[in-house]
């Protein structure tokens, strides 16, 4: 009975799926883009560019019309053999630095690019200086004789416990 059911199921599945596999249209899906290599480069470049009419989206993901126009331009420039830098310069010449999501390194952005690392370096240096100064200022607590005696008494009383670093 079980074997019969299994056979029937297999036949049914084959019948249902068979036409799909025999169909003249069925096959490997073709990429939407005409040239996947160009397209991959387009995505890489447009992820670094800003969609100018969106709230805060990259040129790669936006569905806005201007974004589609600009992607078309960039695709054409890639096919013309332009380098990434040339393509970005092309857009910056027309729309300004605003179109770049990676701000160019120039005097007005030195603070932006080097600031965090300068901050880190400064903080580490400040930390070292502070620790040195602190070590000389803070006196380690001294145990008075009476305190030491009561501490020893307590330790003798309680069972041993592992030292707790947590």
């Amino acid at each position: 009975m079980k074997a019969l059911r299994r056979t029937l199921t297999t036949c049914a599945t084959a019948l249902l799926l068979g036409p799909l596999s025999l169909s003249a249209h069925a096959g490997e899906a073709t990429p939407m883009a005409d040239n996947p290599v160009v397209e991959a480069r387009l995505i890489a470049i447009s992820e670094e560019l800003r969609c100018l009419v969106c709230q805060n989206e990259s040129l790669a993901g936006s569905r806005a019309e201007l974004a589609e126009d600009l992607r078309r331009e960039v695709r054409k420039l890639i096919q013309d053999g332009k380098s990434d830098t040339e393509i970005k310069d092309y857009l910056v010449a027309r729309y300004g630095d605003f179109v770049l999501y990676r701000p160019p390194v120039k005097p007005t952005t030195w603070l932006l690019w080097f600031g965090p690392f300068a901050l880190l370096a400064g903080a580490v240096a400040g930390l070292v200086a502070y620790l040195r100064r602190r070590a000389s200022r803070v006196q380690p607590a001294h145990l008075s004789a009476a305190d030491k005696a009561s501490a020893e008494a307590l330790l003798a009383d309680t069972p041993p416990r592992p030292k707790d670093p947590a």
């Binding site: 009419v53 600009l70 729309y95 179109v99």
Partner: protein, 196 residues
């Protein structure tokens, strides 16, 4: 113990910047083309099919290039101002009709042949100008928006003030308001007209 005041000091600086920021528009993109020659192009005229126009044709004059389209709602706001201004005979205004067919969300331009798109563009643009008035010395058709990209257009309407040597001297983003016309465009235009 002055160093304990450092956090407060830094914070106050931040507040000042935030306060200034409240008066700025984070979406406005100023044009890097101001002070540079107007990009060259050769586009067909609206009124004369087959005849083209290029910015070089306007050498020796101070003029305005106004980007417009019939589907643009804000253009309707500035249009009466442009029409009145053109009647006063101030500056010649050249219209750049931008993506008349492709920019209209309701039309699927991919289904049209280039010839059909051209004639539909002329029809729609012409009809709109007839209805709302034509302030333009002439209008050219930028059907795919490529010239717009060369000019850094990212929205409609936008207007460029170009001097006698063909250099862009000012860009108005958005509709021209009476205020912008009085305070920014006209004084600069007069100054440019006085230049040789």
């Amino acid at each position: 113990m002055k160093r304990f005041l450092i956090p407060l000091g830094l914070f106050l600086v931040l507040v000042v910047f935030l306060a200034i920021g409240l008066n700025r528009d984070p979406h406005e993109v100023p044009s890097p083309l101001v002070g540079k020659p107007a990009p060259a192009f050769s586009l067909e005229k609206l009124a004369e099919p087959g005849k083209t126009f290029s910015p070089a044709d306007m050498q020796g004059q101070v003029w305005l290039l106004n980007v417009w389209a019939s589907w643009c709602v804000s253009c309707r706001a500035e249009h009466p101002l442009l029409v009145a201004f053109s009647r006063q005979g101030g500056l010649p205004i050249v219209g750049l009709n931008y993506k008349e067919v492709r920019g209209d969300g309701g039309i699927d331009a991919k289904k049209l042949s280039p010839a059909d798109e051209a004639s539909l563009t002329r029809q729609r643009a012409g009809a709109w100008l007839s209805q709302h008035g034509d302030p333009y010395t002439l209008s050219v058709l930028d059907m795919d928006g490529r010239v717009g990209i060369d000019y850094g257009v990212y929205g409609v309407p936008e207007t460029y003030l170009i001097d006698k040597k063909g250099v862009i001297r000012f860009k108005q983003i958005g509709p021209i308001t009476p205020d912008a016309l009085e305070k920014k465009i006209l004084p600069l235009a007069r100054q440019l007209a006085a230049e040789s």
